[in-house]
Symmetry: C2
């Protein structure tokens, strides 16, 4: 089997050759296992990079306008006129955020993930907060994008509306499987649907504008009913801010490029930076265009038909083939957006697990080299959200975006702090700090101002969001993030304490063992007991066989047989008047343990019956197993299973 | 703790003194544990015996009439006239069965359980069939009695009808708890409700007859609607037989006295026999009376109100206090009938488990000296039936009674066979046969004829039942009984094979062990590993430490630390290109195992991390546990857990 590869000191390195794991149902589902050496290393250009990283951001145009209108609807359809100015404000915010991120990309060419930027510049606690915010946000990205994708489908095929939750959960599951397979994202698989969506949606917007300018753009035919139909409330500042907060979901996903800088071709920071600006320009244009046209045609926000669907069928005069193709492209881009979270969530949880803030299992790569546990956790949590909120985008939106803006704020504040530190270094001085090197740069003041302004803006937006959407559901996230941070800290403390306890620094060395006391459990005298007795005799001369007696006649029989087969080993019969098996044994072992001398070790030898088929176990009492569970929490007692098989 | 009580040879008997198990939530729920010596030994007289054993049989009068009417209703209310003649036929059948059982009681003074009678006279296969029939029947006794009890309650309080399933399941659970406590059935606790029921129901019947004879008995006021209201079918022979089959449920429970002969005062067979005749007389009278009056008042079979309820409120002119008291007494007797099954099912399953046909755990007495596992199994299965059949007596009836008649047939056929054997012995000759002694008796021919006739009658009734109720649900039982018999046989084969494999007859003795090879698993070099290393060095000089390497840098670090701490023990590093932990270890152990010499034993020492709190386990991979499960199925490999606690 093995090739002896290296021998140094007393150590031998074995490299098993071709022993690939056998094909199982799992390999059928997610593909054959991949070796660690198979990890891909490839880089991408700007056009492909846009396609790979922009789907999350661009897809939010499919619901951002609708969510603004949903809020304004409280004040009646007349208030829809405010939608366009609100969108302009959001695009200005987009520009500020993008400008701030441009600087981050150049400062962190390896990965400008908000978690890393916060961790390196602001420390552990803000980093954990950012991590909690991002993780909730990724879960919501999946839930919102898939729910919106399903809403596009049910807009085109209203008969499917009743099955929206099932459809959404199945989709989440399929994307999970695809990600567990870990398809090598060749770039082209992303480019086709992204550019397909861009072509279709821009065509719609351009045709819409052309018809608007030529005066041939009609209103929506048979718009869905306005669901909030009670007496119109007045337009207040709160309402405007509320609508603005809903619209800021358009910004979710713009950070994706900064996470993925290492994937770009060299000069990678330049390429990533240019791609980010392209993406922002496309996103801004699309969002403004869709909002403008939607208000012009009098689109109505509704669960039963999306605003995009109303816009597309008005632009093309009905539900024709082009309508269906455009809706399909929108659905696909939304599914791709969810797919982005399947890359982000496992990567971040692995990063945080490696830092000791999450269970270490999240760092393990599965058979297909992906962080399987993170992928499965994401799918389960997103499915739960979809089921709880019945796949309604409008119900999910109040939970969304707050995490995004929290992480924006922290990472940009971290950048501002970094510029401040850089500005206070002597020219030429270099400081090693948490993996990155700080070096004096001139012009740090405007850079600090840009990042600081970005942080301030996103912070204010986050407050607006939390305030206006508190009762709609933002409170859930505001409660959840501290709880998560608390959990991360507890996990971190556990690992740290454990590491210090297990550390061999100042380890005094083990005392020499000199006595070995063996307790052999005997349930009956038969061919299964004797190998255990033989093993016990091999371990030590100081053996006590112990039998728990429930039935005096049975005990007498065992005593008699033991005289014959027990090789002179002392037997203790424990009477159990209450017909308990484990408790008298534990009492006895405790008593022996209490009289234990220093340098004495106690081994409990348990004959373990192994049936031919696992389901035969139900025909036998699992004394050995129950005893093990009870003894595991005793220090200094070793448990030895001597198996006996019937076959 | 212990008192050394007896010392013989090398054996010591310890009797733990006062160490009663602590009070737990379980002892709060079902009472403090009882010592084996506490088992009660008391006998009862005829009047109490009637109360204890007759509740099951007598309670069936609460639904037997109604079930006859339900079937006849298909032919319209005019067909109800057939109910009384059918009841007469059933009472004749009752007389035949009772006569046959009288003889069984005298022949089996220790327990005339159908299972034992069949086993001793017809052999294993018929005995298993009888056992299967009886067990299904006991489950159905609980389901039918409780459902009927709940139907009496909902007749009095129709508002509770929607909660009938919940009510029934809660009742099953309560009776389970009472039986897990193992209330010492003092006889009086049975006598009060049974005689209370007899007084109330006989009063109703007597008043009904008085009013019938004086012409003052009116029809039912506002009877429930006849649920089967389509075009009336003609009265066919099939319909009559069908109604007869439904009515035979009145006979369920008559075998109870024959099971309980040892509980009677001496002369116990005489007392039990007299009690059986009393019971049959009361049952027959009540059943005929109720059927006669019900047809006279035009009672309508319905799920919403029981026939008993209609009869009682007609006899007493409305739902007054006496009505409520009578209904309460009926409900209580039905619950008592269910309680009978809680004694029978666990006893029979313990008997069959002792014979090796059911998992041996059924023979264990719980902390309260009752067969807890049988009680819990019965409650779970009966609850399932109640939920599946929505607590409808009419839906459950087609499954009931077939098992009763099957066991009647087998036990009486067994008795007939026994008389035949007795008749063919020489006078004065005694034959020991399966625990009972056969001795020539004169007059065996009429006795054989009586039992044979009883067997023939019940066999025919069983066929009628199976035929007329096949599609209504009897097929379920006809399928289930062979499956159960198959299962019993498989279990029996397993235990028999195991016993022969484990037998020490012809055991050649163990070869002497001469070599001990120890494999020590090393996940990391820390304070948890070193006690395991120390233990391994104590076991043998031939130790190999094994580390599975997923990360080459980590492996290099461990190799380095091992040089320092490993005491010169050889280390093997297994490269795992597919990042698997268990599989490379198993491959390695297999390879070592393949090269094992005779008289060599292999021990795998696993350092087992024990966290302070069990839930900390989610923060650690359970390698030791997974490895154990995988290795348990390997012969000749001993697994040793050396625990290390952090605290």
């Amino acid at each position: 089997m093995a090739l002896i590869d290296k021998e140094s000191g007393t150590t031998v390195l074995l490299r098993p050759g071709e022993n690939k794991p056998p094909r199982t149902w799992r390999s059928w589902l997610i593909g054959r296992p991949l070796a660690t050496a198979d990890a891909p290393h490839q880089t991408i250009g700007k056009a492909i990079g846009l396609a790979v990283f922009a789907s999350d951001a661009l897809s939010s145009t499919a619901y951002a306008t609708q969510e603004i209108l949903f809020i304004l609807a409280v004040a009646g359809t007349a208030a829809f006129g405010y939608a366009f100015p609100i969108s302009v404000a959001i695009v200005v915010l987009l520009a500020i955020v993008v400008l701030s991120y441009e600087q981050t990309i150049h400062a962190y060419p390896n990965s400008a993930s908000a978690y890393i930027v916060t961790r390196d510049n602001l420390g552990e606690f803000p980093a954990q907060t950012t991590g909690a915010a991002l993780l909730t946000d990724y879960i919501l990205t999946v839930a919102v994008s898939i729910s919106s994708g399903v809403a596009q489908i049910t807009s085109a095929y209203p008969g499917l509306y009743d099955f929206r939750v099932e459809l959404a959960v199945v989709m989440v599951g399929l994307i999970m499987l695809i990600n567990l397979r870990g398809v090598k994202e060749s770039g082209i698989t992303f480019a086709i649907p992204t550019y397909f969506f861009l072509v279709m949606i821009f065509s719609t917007v351009i045709i819409g504008f052309f018809r608007y300018l030529t005066g041939t753009l009609s209103g929506v035919v048979e718009p869905p009913e306005l669901e909030i139909s009670h007496v119109a409330q007045p337009v207040t500042l709160f309402l405007i801010l509320h609508a603005f907060a809903s619209g800021t979901t358009a910004l979710t996903g713009v950070e994706a490029i900064s996470d993925g800088v290492p994937a770009f071709k060299e000069p990678r920071t330049h390429n990533a930076g240019v791609t980010l600006i392209w993406m922002a320009a496309i996103l801004g244009t699309l969002f403004l265009g869709i909002t403008f046209l939607s208000t012009q045609i009098g689109a109505i926000p509704a669960e039963s038909e999306t605003v995009i669907s109303q816009l597309v069928r008005t632009a093309y005069d009905g539900r024709g083939v082009i309508y269906l193709i455009t809706m399909a492209s929108t659905t696909i881009i939304l599914i791709m957006a969810a797919n982005t979270a399947y890359a982000d969530f496992p990567r971040l949880s692995a990063l945080m697990a490696a830092d000791g803030f999450m269970p270490r299992q999240f760092t393990y790569r599965g058979s297909r080299l992906v962080f399987s546990r993170g992928i499965i956790a994401l799918a389960v949590l997103a499915s739960l959200l979809i089921i709880i909120f019945q796949a309604s985008v409008t119900a999910l939106i109040p939970l969304y975006a707050i995490g995004v803006f929290l992480s924006f704020t922290f990472s940009q504040a971290g950048m501002a702090h970094r510029w401040w530190k850089i500005g206070h270094l002597a020219p030429g001085q270099e400081v090693q700090e948490r993996g990155s090197v700080l070096k004096y740069e001139s012009g740090w003041i405007p850079k600090m101002i840009i990042n600081g302004f970005g942080a301030a803006c996103t912070f204010v937006v986050m407050l607006i969001f939390a305030f206006t959407k508190f009762i709609d559901g933002a409170w859930i996230v505001l409660l959840l993030i501290p709880l998560l941070v608390f959990g991360f800290s507890a996990i971190h403390r556990h690992y740290r304490r454990l590491a210090s306890r297990l550390s061999l620094r100042n380890y005094p060395g083990d005392p020499r063992l000199s006595r070995h006391r063996v307790i052999l459990l005997v349930g009956g005298v038969h061919q299964g007991t004797l190998p255990a007795l033989r093993y016990a005799r091999f371990l030590s001369d100081d053996i006590t066989a112990v039998h728990v007696s429930i039935n005096p006649e049975e005990a007498e029989r065992i005593r008699h047989e033991w005289e014959k087969w027990g090789n002179g080993v002392r037997m203790v019969i424990l009477e159990s008047p209450y017909r308990l098996l484990i408790e008298p044994l534990l009492d006895y072992i405790n008593e022996v343990d209490a009289r234990r001398q220093p340098n004495e070790i106690i081994t409990v030898v348990v004959p373990q019956f192994v049936p031919r088929h696992w389901w035969h176990n139900i025909l036998h009492t699992q004394t050995a197993f129950i005893l093990r569970i009870n003894l595991l929490f005793r220090p200094g007692i070793v448990i030895t299973d001597v198996p006996y098989q019937v076959e």
